[in-house]
Structures are given as C-alpha cells and as structure tokens.
Amino acid sequence: MHARVRFSPQTVTLLQALLDSPHDWHYGYDLSQQTGLKSGTLYPILIRLERAGLLAARWQTPSRPGAPPRHLYRLTAAGVRTTRERLRASKKRMSLAPASAAGRA
C-alpha cells in the first residue's frame, strides 16, 4: 500500500514558524500565538512531526517551584532540510501556476 503524504496549510504555517529560528526551542503556547493555531490543531501536527523525526522535543526544568515542566520543540536537522525542500517546492509551484494557466488559455 502506498502512504499518502499530507502537507496541510496549518502544517506549513507551523513549519515556517519553526524554521524562522531553527536553533531555538519553542513552547507550545508560544507557537500557538505565533501561528494562530488552536491547541486542538497544533498538537496533532506536533505529534505527527515528532513521530516522523522532523521535530525534537524535550522537557524544560520548571522555572518556578510548583510549576509543571514545559515541553519545548524545535526542528531536527532532517526537519529543517525537509521543510526547506517543501517550502522551495511550493514556492516553485506557485510561481509556475500563472504560466501554466496562461498556457492553457
């Protein structure tokens, strides 16, 4: 069976946000604010990316006593590479789109 690859607009938005500072670790809440994605959309994508090896996750030691540890995320090397390739490919598709439309006309 052939696996279908899904690259949803929400995933692209999140990958772009992560790619803006690929070496920094990000909190889930910050990513949500940055991308405008709600937790119900954001976390399934994070989970998929992490399982795919495109995203690294680690726990941060609590900054104040009693607070729970927070999860941090950043792209892995493979994630950075895949994201760049994907973004490049989609930009190329977008730049080709008007030409092919004109060609059909």
Binding site: M1, H2, A3, R4, V5, R6, F7, T11, Y27, G28, Y29, S32, K38, S39, G40, T41, L42, Y43, P44, L46, I47, R48, L49, R51, A52, G53, L54, A57, A67, P68, P69, R70, H71, A78, T82, R86
Partner: protein
Amino acid sequence: MNGKPSERIVRQLVRYARWILPAESGDWGAAMEAEVGEMKDPGEKLKWAAGSLWVACRERLAALVCGRRRVVAGGDLLALEMEEGMRRLARAVIVAAAGAPLLFLLAPSFRQGLAVQARLWTASFNEPLVRAGELRAMASEAEKHGDAEALAFAALLHRDVNERAAWAEQAVGRQRDLTWLYAVLLSRAEHPAGAEVWLGALRRWAPDNGFVDVLEAKRIAQVEGSPGDRDYRQRVAKNVEWQAAMQAAFAAPVYDCYVGRQLELIRKVMRRERGSDPLLVVNASG
C-alpha cells in the same frame, strides 16, 4: 490554579485529556497541561483545555481504529501518515457507526417514542403534553357533533381555566352523569367564578359524597386569603362555615374524588379518538 469554577472545569478537561490519550502519547497530555499554567485569561485556558481534550479523543480514536502507523521511506514530508487504505477503512467505519443509529428514524414507533420523550422533556418546563390547539380542535368537533364525552376529555386535559370550564358545562349540559367533572376541575385549582353553581349541581347529583363538602370547604378557605398569607391557617380553622363543611365531609358515608371515572373516560375517548397516541396515555396516567 485556584478553586474558581472555570479553573475546575479546565483542570477536569486536561485531566480527562491525559486519561483518554493512549499510553504512547502520555507525554503530550502533560505537555498540553503544562501550557495552561502560563495563560492568564480564563477563556483562553478553557479553549486550550477543550482543544487538548479534542486532541486526546482524536489520538485515542486513531489508535483504536488504525493502530498501525508507519514512517514513509525517503523522509518525504511529515513522514508519518496512516496508509491510505486504512484511512479509508477508518472513515467508512466511523461513517457507518455514526449513520447506523439514524436508520432507527425509519421506524414509525421509534419516531413516536422520540416524540414522547421530547414532549416529556418540554413538559418539565411546564409545557402541556397535549397542545392547547389540538384540544381546541377536538372540543370544536365535539361541539359540532354533540359529543359530551369528548368535551369532558378536552376539559380534563386543558390548562386554560375559563375554556375548560365552558367545555365542562357543555359536557354536563349534554350528559348529566358527567357532573363529577365539576368536582375534578374544582379540586385542581382555585375555584373559578360560578363555583357555587357547580357545587350546587354536585350536591344534587351526589348528595352523600364527602368530597363535595371538602370542595365547599376549599371554597370557603379561599375567602380567607391564600395559603402563603400570614395566619392563614389560623383564620381558616376559626371559620365556622369551614368547620361545618369539614364536619359534613367527615360524616359523609361516601368519599369519592372520581379518579376512577376520570381514567375510565380518558381511556374510553382515547380508544375511540386517538387510541394509538402515547402522549395521551402518558398524560392520562400522570
């Protein structure tokens, strides 16, 4: 987090989310929960927690329906996806599971049961089980055909005091042995205007029934005010007429509040008119 209701709801939602998440996703529940502590706005917290619960349900469903996942060779994008065939199967199962109960709606008895449940639910908000419009239509037909029993039936189920009084008078005018209807209606609410006439008719029709004396006592008590008034009980107890009416009630050889006749009439008219309508059955038995 403090003990505000919204905080408790948030805490409960994220707790459920952690509980629902499959074991292999356990860390993600804690991750979503930890972020809630960083938010200030209660509404935002609530939305986040609801989103967390949604994620947990999705993950659990995916684990149940499509446990098998694989990484796509070549690392092309988000490598992990469910296989297309499995995804289709999962969708089909979900649609079938969601759609199958709707087939029950094809069965008339199921729809009828549903309607009864809905009516019972609205009845809890003081909505009548049989709508006034239906009863008016029934009473109008009964008037045309001189059907005293149907008029009495409508009077028994109707809520409008004046209309049901008029129907009751027509019913009794046509059929004297329905005079007990006055007693039932008088026992239900405050006595309407002309209650003395009804009581007189009842006394002539059933002179030995102590229930009529109780209704008379009720009418007398009504003159003293309403039960919520201060010293109402004391005033009523001191009323000589009330004492006499109650004494007569205790001394009466018969006490019949006509429940049997009432149910008999309802059953009879239901069989004749709308025998299959469970709403009336429910109403009559209530």
